[in-house]
């Protein structure tokens, strides 16, 4: 993974001191609540219902075991013994004390971690494909480009007081595991007709109150133009994005108001000028240095022992279920990627205890070169496990309650903290996720249903991306009572689409039954092996609506 040099390390250490003095000024009364709010948010600190919440960046989801152990020790020493992984691959502490946050940042800086720009109206943590570097069909590893964007965007002098938050994601395969079409900028590494690698650039995607799918602004951008083009988009947005209404301030609103063609013209004009004014091309030796940080680990040449694995799979149904659901293909023969499910029955999605974190770190050291990934789906992954070691790893994960074989199934729910923690929420989400995961816990039933994702947010800010869930559930408040709106047919992947509204919101008492009726309808309607999403797209929501609102 990327290793900080003296510049990077100095920067995070200076940031700790800066934030320490900002906190002191606030506590001394030299900063108002409103002033400090902007400063603390740019350091990932929210003030929530019960306590502050600290969001720590995990750049493009890559994390070392040394870092993981540090998160565990912070969870023990400064928090209530657990952390929460988010849909943007970051990690959150739910109970830090405001006064202690500078000390937490100092601990993080000691392992090359930080929370810079993990919130606020600035360029946020850049995200990527959690399987970057191991996909057979990858055009090129996107992580070096993510790292370049991370550095470019950190304390950008011009783009740190934007109209609204700004999110960038980068992928390099056909399959989109990073929801790139729902980002302010989505970058796809692609090959053009000449065989050169560059970026396809999307702009203006986003979720929240006005969900919008990103639009193609440039089909092919030469790699050396990346920073100049990003600066051009950001400058047009910073100057012309709306600032009068925070719900209309994202770049998606500007792009829609101008039309993508006009927006493109403005960006291209700006880009042409920037190219004359600035030298933003990254020298090859620096690209080489950063790429070298992501060089493949020392895979064993002959690691396949397929006969033994075949026997284990044949003899142990629980293991073969897990193998089928929770492992993924690898470009190197004899290796697999393994997803650790943070969606065990009855557990809040994405939560991990400090004991589990330490144990996971030990396993990653033994089984996967000391590195792991956090996923958009709020799970973790070991990306480089030898097939011959899968059975042993599975047994150890089972003992830690991290081997629930439900990845990609109905109970692999993406869920925001909701009313239990979040001061913005209108309705609870974790208890609903728990109820669903308990009601539908028959593994054969889940496998029969196949690939279905539920995304569940407790308010229309949509942190759990409910608008693009196969089944989206949105909590709303009606006169102090929690209700839930259902959408069907959304997707955040390469076939991205917004879900269609099923009908009136259903009550908290009825939501799990409503999900059951939707599933029954799917089973009635599906053709052969047809996945849920295809059925909904083929039939529309009407038959589902009739069943759910039958009474």
């Amino acid at each position: 993974m990327y290793q900080y040099d003296q510049y990077d390390q100095t920067l995070v250490e200076e940031r700790v001191q800066q934030y320490r003095s900002q906190t002191k000024r606030y506590l001394d009364g030299d900063l108002t609540d409103e002033q400090f709010r902007s400063l603390r948010l740019m350091n990932g600190l929210y003030i929530q219902t019960h306590a502050p919440l600290l969001r720590v960046s995990v750049p493009y989801g890559l994390i070392s075991t040394r870092q993981l152990r540090k998160l565990a020790s912070i969870a023990r020493d400064y928090d209530k013994g657990y952390v929460h992984f988010t849909t943007r691959q970051n990690v959150q502490f739910n109970w830090p004390e405001l006064e202690k946050v500078p000390d937490i940042l100092a601990e993080l800086a000691s392992v090359q971690m930080q929370s810079i720009q993990s919130s606020g109206n600035c360029i946020r943590n850049v995200t990527s494909d959690h399987f970057a570097g191991i996909c057979p069909d990858e055009v090129e590893d996107p992580r070096p480009w993510c790292e370049i964007i991370r550095q470019w965007s950190t304390f950008h002098p011009e783009f740190t007081w934007l109209p609204r938050k700004f999110k960038i994601a980068v992928t390099a395969t056909q399959k989109d595991r990073a929801a790139t079409q729902l980002h302010d900028i989505g970058l796809h590494l692609v090959k053009n007709g000449q065989g050169d690698v560059g970026f396809e650039v999307l702009v203006g995607g986003g979720l929240g109150r006005t969900p919008v799918i990103g639009k193609l602004i440039r089909p092919f951008l030469e790699k050396e133009e990346l920073l100049a083009y990003l600066e051009a988009i950001l400058r047009v947005y910073n100057r012309f994005g709306r600032r009068d209404n925070k719900y209309k301030a994202r770049i998606k609103i500007l792009v829609n108001a101008l039309g993508v063609d006009t927006f493109r013209e403005m960006v291209e004009t700006e880009w042409a000028l920037i190219r004359q004014e600035e030298q933003l091309e990254i020298p090859q030796h620096e690209i080489d240095r950063i790429q070298a940080c992501f060089a493949p680990p020392a895979y064993k040449a002959d690691s396949g022992n397929s006969a033994e694995l075949e026997t284990q799979l044949a003899e142990n149904r629980a293991f073969s279920n897990w193998f089928k659901q929770n492992t993924s293909e690898h470009k190197v023969a004899g290796y697999k990627a393994v997803i650790l499910s943070l969606k065990a029955r009855g557990c809040p999605p994405g939560d991990v205890t400090e004991k589990q974190l330490d144990a996971i770190a030990d396993l990653a050291d033994r089984y996967s070169f000391g590195l792991l990934r956090s996923l958009h789906s709020q799970n973790l992954a070991f990306t480089d496990v030898q097939e011959s070691e899968l059975f042993g790893l599975w047994q150890e994960l089972e003992a830690l309650n991290l081997a629930t074989a439900n990845i990609g199934t109905l109970t692999d729910i993406i869920c925001c903290p909701g009313l239990d923690f979040c001061s913005l929420a209108n309705a609870s989400s974790i208890p609903i996720a728990k109820e669903i995961s308990e009601r539908f816990d028959d593994i054969d039933y889940l496998y029969d249903l196949g690939e279905i994702n539920i995304k569940l947010s407790g308010c229309m800010n949509g942190c759990a991306h409910q608008s693009v869930g196969h089944i989206g559930i949105l909590g709303v408040d009606k006169k102090g009572v929690e209700w839930y709106q259902i959408t069907l047919g959304g997707s955040s992947e390469e076939d991205a689409a917004l879900g269609a509204r099923l009908g009136p919101a259903v009550s908290k008492a009825d939501i799990t039954d409503a999900i059951g009726k939707i599933l029954d309808t799917y089973i009635d309607l599906r053709l052969e092996q047809e996945p849920f999403l295809q059925t909904v797209r083929r039939t529309g929501v009407q038959p589902f609506k009739e069943k759910v609102y039958a009474d």
């Binding site: 800066q18 900002q22 902007s38 400063l39 109206n121 002098p157 011009e158 783009f159 933003l280």
Partner: protein
């Protein structure tokens, strides 16, 4: 309170002229509307001239007028409004303005370093913020990006 971009106090007197006010002697600042309306009178008087602009200004349209101003004041009605950061950069690097750039209004001490980087020379801000200016201007030394202050990115500077 007026300070330079090292955090040192400045003592200058510019008269901020309303659009309706008669033209006085001395050093004055005017809005764009006043400038466009009274160009000739403003140029034929004695004393220095400064232009006050807001974040929504189409600064490119004033390109040919810029050499008449010793000072351009970028006004911040609200510290969260970051448009002036882009305007400063454009004034410096695109339009070649070499006079003084000043940020004025609701500005946090914590923004001064960013403003200095995009080309601002002086700040007119609340005393409560000004007292932390020196500290804030010096607390971050690493600069990853190009801006008005530096022509290379960190990627070019690394050996």
């Amino acid at each position: 309170m007026l300070i330079d971009n090292k955090g040192e106090n400045l003592a200058e007197k510019w008269l901020s002229l309303d659009d309706e006010q008669p033209l006085p002697e001395g050093d004055i600042t005017v809005s764009i509307a006043r400038w466009l309306e009274d160009k000739e009178a403003l140029l034929s008087r004695k004393g220095k001239l400064a232009l006050r602009i807001l974040g929504d200004t189409e600064i490119e349209a004033l390109k040919d007028d810029l050499n008449h101003f010793q000072l351009i004041i970028l006004e911040f009605p609200k510290f969260t409004d970051g448009r002036n950061f882009s305007l400063a950069r454009i004034l410096r690097k695109r339009l070649g303005f070499s006079g003084e750039l000043r940020a004025s209004g609701d500005i946090l001490a914590d923004q001064l370093l960013y403003l200095k980087r995009v080309g601002i020379d002086s700040f007119d801000l609340d005393e409560e913020q000004a007292k932390f200016a020196k500290q804030s201007l010096n607390e971050l030394t690493v600069r990853y990006q190009t801006s008005a202050d530096i022509d290379t990115t960190i990627f070019q500077r690394r050996g």
